[in-house]
């Protein structure tokens, strides 16, 4: 700022005016896009807390007034979703932990330790990030249903665990699938971080005679805590939000083991159409876990996305 006023000192007044006008236009655009990104969410929330009558009579984004306010939709949606919330969480948490741990290990083996043909192997991991999952759906369905019906094998065992039912066994193949397909992206995320670490860390450990395992446990794991945060948040969001694998392996929104994303597209629908109050309530409840994570750790989430590119 000070520089521009000194270079154009004879015309300061018009310069300031110009800058201010541009500022105003810039802020106006910022606010416009704020609206663009928030209106669908705001409308959804407002619809969720309105009675059907109020939804039909008021503007979609207007807040409910007086009699038009209700928590009935949210209550109803919560009842419908509670079982699938449990399914989603007991599926997402182990799947996230598994893929993050494996990803960190693979990245360590591929980055901090030098050996030939690393690049070729890395390429296989990178391609694994981008492969369209449609290309493995038919094999996945066949593998878990016909060749290795793990869910059926585990059913009696899972049924004997407190709080669990036999059908929760269907989530075990889903967890394994998520871990396996989550490894490539986690590896790439960790690798970019490990590459930024100074080589001297591992070298110092080697000179001290520490084994590769010891270096991982004593040196790499402690300093990669922030990266574990980033990858964990990123991966949990991905797995919790995922639909296609659940759709292939659990099938059907009425299956008792269905995660939230599988149930949501069918909630509040009847022959007479969709009850949008209920549908919007369910959409918000389904989004709550990832929204909380996002609001609390927006920076980590953005970092995960940046590194992916």
């Amino acid at each position: 700022m000070s520089q521009s006023s000194s270079t154009g000192s004879f015309d300061v007044a018009s310069l300031v005016e110009d800058v201010n006008l541009r500022r105003v236009a810039q802020y106006a655009l910022v606010v416009f896009f704020l609206g663009f990104f928030l209106v669908p969410l705001e409308t959804g929330i407002m619809t969720a807390i309105k009675t059907n009558e109020s939804v039909a009579r008021s503007l979609p984004f207007a807040p409910p007034v007086g009699e038009g306010f209700t928590l009935g939709n949210i209550q109803f949606a919560l009842e419908q979703l509670s079982g699938s919330f449990f399914n989603s969480l007991i599926m997402s948490i182990p799947a996230t932990i598994g893929s993050v741990l494996f990803g960190s290990m693979a990245a360590y083996g591929l980055t901090m330790v030098n050996w030939r043909a690393q690049m070729g192997m890395l390429m296989l991991f990178v391609v694994g990030v981008f492969v369209p999952y449609q290309a493995v759906l038919v094999p996945l369905a066949r593998f878990w249903n016909n060749i290795f019906p793990l869910a059926r094998m585990l059913e009696p065992m899972v049924a004997s665990i407190p709080f669990f039912q036999g059908y929760h066994a269907e989530l075990v193949p889903l967890v394994i699938t998520h871990i396996a397909y989550g490894i490539p992206i986690c590896t790439i995320l960790f690798r970019s971080y490990y590459q930024s670490l100074p080589n001297s860390l591992v070298e110092a450990g080697k000179i001290d005679g520490a084994s590769i395992t010891k270096i991982y446990r004593r040196v790499i794991l402690p300093i990669s805590k922030p990266m574990f945060g980033v990858v964990f948040i990123y991966q949990f969001t991905q797995i919790y939000n995922e639909f296609l694998f659940a759709f292939t392996l659990v099938t059907g929104s009425d299956a008792p083991a269905a995660p939230v994303t599988l149930v949501l597209p069918a909630i509040g629908a009847s022959t007479s159409g969709i009850d949008f109050g209920i549908r919007m309530s369910a959409a918000f409840l389904a989004a709550v876990p990832t929204l909380i994570l996002y609001v609390a750790f927006a920076e980590q989430f953005a970092k995960g996305l940046r590194t992916e590119a």
Partner: protein
């Protein structure tokens, strides 16, 4: 691997009696072997899932496998590929897919770049705004599909509210086959432009500030500075964001399914991914859908391959 090493070095073991033994020991102590459990276990698990899956899918695509029962590998041919390439549904889906890929990727890149430049300089609390712009990316496609289903609603959706306020007739966004794909692209742009913005912002922040200063001293306008000096330096960010967006556009299934909650998406929005899943899981035409999936994979590789080669050449892998 180890046994292979044995036999190779036995012949010159006359010179050094313990030659091969120490070499074996050396090999077993090498970083390659000792780090093997770290990359090996994840690699095997991932390879079975990804590459085993692709291979199996490839094999099934040559059979006539459908319905219940098991695939019969005795007669392998390209019949399913021929059948797909000559079917109208496939051609229409491929065309829609192309429109989605080009339209979605281009607009996302342009809008993301615009948002990044908008927030890059001179905005207070710029990080807070970024957080809001990126928020749709944290939502599931299933959730955003519900939100947009309501936005697109013919009687009470916001979009028709705007349209009728401007004096036009209400539009059936998802029911009119010639508009539906555009509507879907619009909703996906809403979700993804925050992502391109974040990628571009990272690129912008790596450009030193003195380039802006130098351009300013030279009397270049802000627009000119960005167009001539800054944007050309964002090539790398553009390429990597474009790859992610294009691959997404190829496989986008969830949003379309969740809009209607059934296998057939709104008329005019059927893409290869939805066609493939419908053929497989609704009609049990496993071989046919495996063939579509293989072609989808080849298209994705057509996008990723050049990108990885470029990255490798740049030494940035």
């Amino acid at each position: 691997m180890a046994t292979h090493d044995n036999t190779e070095h036995v012949s010159d073991a006359t010179d050094e009696a313990v030659g091969w033994e120490s070499k074996l020991r050396y090999f077993l102590n090498s970083d390659f072997v000792r780090s093997a459990p770290y990359w090996g276990i994840p690699f095997v698990l991932m390879s079975i899932a990804v590459y085993g899956g692709i291979g199996y899918n490839f094999a099934i695509s040559f059979t006539d496998y459908e319905g219940l029962g098991t695939p019969d590998y005795s007669t392998l041919d390209l019949e399913m590929y021929a059948q797909a390439l000559s079917s109208d549904a496939f051609i229409a889906a491929a065309q829609n897919n192309l429109v989605l890929l080009v339209g979605f990727t281009t607009i996302c890149l342009v809008l993301g770049l615009f948002l990044a430049i908008l927030l890059d300089h001179g905005i207070r609390f710029s990080e807070k705004f970024q957080t809001v712009y990126l928020l749709p990316m944290s939502l599931s496609f299933v959730v955003t599909a519900q939100l947009w289903l309501w936005m697109f609603n013919v009687e009470s959706g916001i979009l028709n509210l705007v349209v009728t306020t401007l004096g036009f007739n209400p539009v059936d966004w998802l029911g009119n086959p010639s508009i539906a794909l555009g509507a879907v692209i619009f909703a996906l742009i809403w979700q993804f432009s925050g992502y391109t913005m974040v990628v571009y912002l990272a690129g912008l922040q790596s450009i030193p500030d003195d380039q802006f200063e130098a351009a300013r001293v030279d009397g270049a306008s802000i627009t000119r500075t960005y167009l001539r000096i800054i944007v050309p330096q964002l090539k790398e960010a553009s390429v990597s964001a474009a790859v992610v967006l294009m691959v997404f556009a190829l496989k986008a299934f969830t949003f379309l399914y969740a809009l209607v909650g059934r296998y057939r998406p709104p008329n005019g929005t059927d893409i290869l991914a939805t066609l493939m899943v419908r053929r497989a899981f609704k009609f049990g035409e496993w071989a046919y859908s495996a063939a579509i999936a293989t072609m989808l994979l080849i298209m994705a590789l057509g996008v990723i391959g050049p990108y990885l080669y470029y990255q490798y050449k740049q030494g940035s892998l």
